[in-house]
Amino acid sequence: MINYDLAEEQQILRNSIREFAENEVRPVAEELDEKEEFSLELTKKMAGMGLFGMFIPEEYGGSGMDYISYVIAIEELARVDGSTAATAAAGNSLGIGPIYYFGNEQQKREWLPGLCSGETLASFGLTEPNAGSDAGATQTAADLKNGEWVINGSKIFITNSATPISAIIIVQCRTGTLDKGKSELSCILVPNETEGVTAKEMHGKMMWRSSNTGELYFEDVCVPEKNLLGKRGGGFKQMLSTLDRGRLSIAAMGLGGAQGAFELALKYSKERKQFNRTICSFQVNAFKLADMATEIEAARNLLYKAAWLCDQGRPFGREAAMAKLYCSEVMRRVVNEAVQIHGGYGLMREYQVERFFRDQKLLDIGEGTSEIQRIVIARELGCFE
């Protein structure tokens, strides 16, 4: 049995977030992008909408929605602005998610209410200068001494980690050595304010310019032993599971971004006249628009299916990887043609599509590059056995 109808609350959610994004995000997106500025004000407004803690139960301050709803919300934000969607997606998937899924009751009670209300932001510190795609190559080390973890190392490209309200970092650390020389990896909760933690905002980004990206340094940072997230040695599994869910939200950004750029191109092509005709009436452009609409529809179906599997408690890693890969690449084709349809104006900031064009590129790289997604999918196919 297949039912493609959204639930009533999902439809209401889409309408509401669309209105919010059009009224609150669209008017400021261009300026924030130009200034490369993270907006605390916009983040607070999103929190007021309940956009942090979407899939977290009410008892911890969340909204208790399902993943399809979450995906729809991120899609609608990304339809207007990638950076804003990134702040929300990372806040939920990478910040709030791991604490909710792997934290003990005390950790959840301590951190989730503030994170869900948008008082604070959490970040997920996995990537290091020498450990990107090879996330198991973590060098940041945590040694247990007198009931405290002593952490030394650094992280790079960590979303939401260097804002004025960044309060907690989930740091993937090497906590020992296993047989065959492999690292034992564990996640440790490190409050930003802990002595020895330095968070530096990274500048000069091509895309997601108003999303906050931080570089983190840990110098003899001491936190209590109980700040361990889940089991010692559980870090790698926690990371894989977090990224599976995170990929749904990155895919949602691809889908939403494609939708937004497509709508801009369609509108422009109906208004712009050359050779006494609207440019959408030239078949070459009409076919481009038809292809965009088709690919977006296919991408949406693939992503919603992956989110549905997740909501059903079924395995969804393969579909999440496919959706992340496909939605990013659909957006790439769409933004490319959307700029093309705008002609010279498409290259100018004022016409918005150039921002979509730039923002797209991150999606091929963040939370597992497209190559890594293909590895995940090919592994599922048994290609490497």
Binding site: E9, I12, L13, N15, M49, G50, L51, E58
Partner: protein, 263 residues
């Protein structure tokens, strides 16, 4: 305080409206429907009054419309309204303002109220009549096109400003009364995610005509829409171009005489 807000389901202002082949209505396929824009100001004002008065104040949405209207009623509940009455009956079709007012008056009387907010007009058929007929039937004061609203501290009267050509008219009205809202009265809030989840558990009481005590559609037909017609197509604009202005003028004169035959 018992606050009622009226809600009508109307096509989105941005929707492309096409009249159906029979000329009896619009082609609804693919058209998005929304809460009548002016009703949103009414909902927001109702919520603000509830917040101001506190206690066991309650905001109840009253909507007459097809089954599909529940999504919009639920949206109002997600914005914060407490419960709703949905008058839904296949016999209704497209009631004229008089019929609408009779039915709404009955539902509203059954509910009881201290204050009613509605939009100054529905943006689909732009009749702007229901609130006034309703006020007469309920025998209460009405103030239309309200742009500023202030409830007195004791909650017995309201001081409002009506936006009229070139200025405002300040009016005081005793409660219970009905107020129709103008743009700018307030900024309607969004349905937040927690609000959407809470709305799932709120009650929508569906009423048929029979539930309201009507054996048939009341009111007779005081007015009947005969046919819906598209706007006449504007004549096409043609540019007369030439190297020299005087040649263009000569050509224009020739076209006016020979083609348009007006000079």
């Amino acid at each position: 305080m018992k606050i009622l807000v009226l809600l009508k389901r109307v096509p989105d202002t941005e929707a492309r409206i096409l009249i159906n082949q029979e000329g009896t209505g619009i082609n609804e396929q693919g058209v998005k429907f929304v809460i009548n824009t002016y009703d949103e100001y009414g909902i927001e004002q109702g919520l603000r009054i509830r917040e101001q008065v506190g206690g066991d104040s309650k905001v109840t949405v009253v909507c007459m419309g097809p089954g599909e209207a529940t999504e919009l009623i639920r949206t109002a509940l997600a914005m914060g309204a407490d419960d709703a009455v949905h008058i839904c009956d296949p016999a209704l079709g497209k009631p004229d303002p008089f019929t609408s007012a009779i039915i709404l008056a009955k539902a509203i009387t059954d509910e009881g109220f201290d204050i009613i907010f509605c939009g100054k007009q529905a943006i689909d058929d732009d009749m702007a009549q229901v609130q006034s007929i309703l006020a007469e039937m309920l025998d209460i004061p009405q103030v239309n096109v309200v742009a500023v609203f202030e409830l007195s501290d004791d909650g017995t009267k309201a001081t409002v400003r009506r936006r009229i050509e070139g200025g405002d008219e300040k009016v005081e009205a005793r409660l219970p009364a009905i107020f129709s809202c103008e743009k700018g009265l307030n900024e309607p809030r969004y349905a937040s995610l927690p609000g959407i989840m809470k709305a799932k558990k709120k009650e929508i009481r569906t009423k048929t005509l029979a539930d309201l005590g009507f054996g048939e559609v009341p009111g007779g037909t005081r007015s009947r829409v005969l046919k819906w017609l598209p706007l006449p197509k504007g004549a096409e604009c043609r540019m007369v171009e030439a190297e020299e202005m005087k040649d263009a003028v000569a050509e224009l004169a020739r076209l006016l005489r020979e083609e348009a035959k007006v000079i």
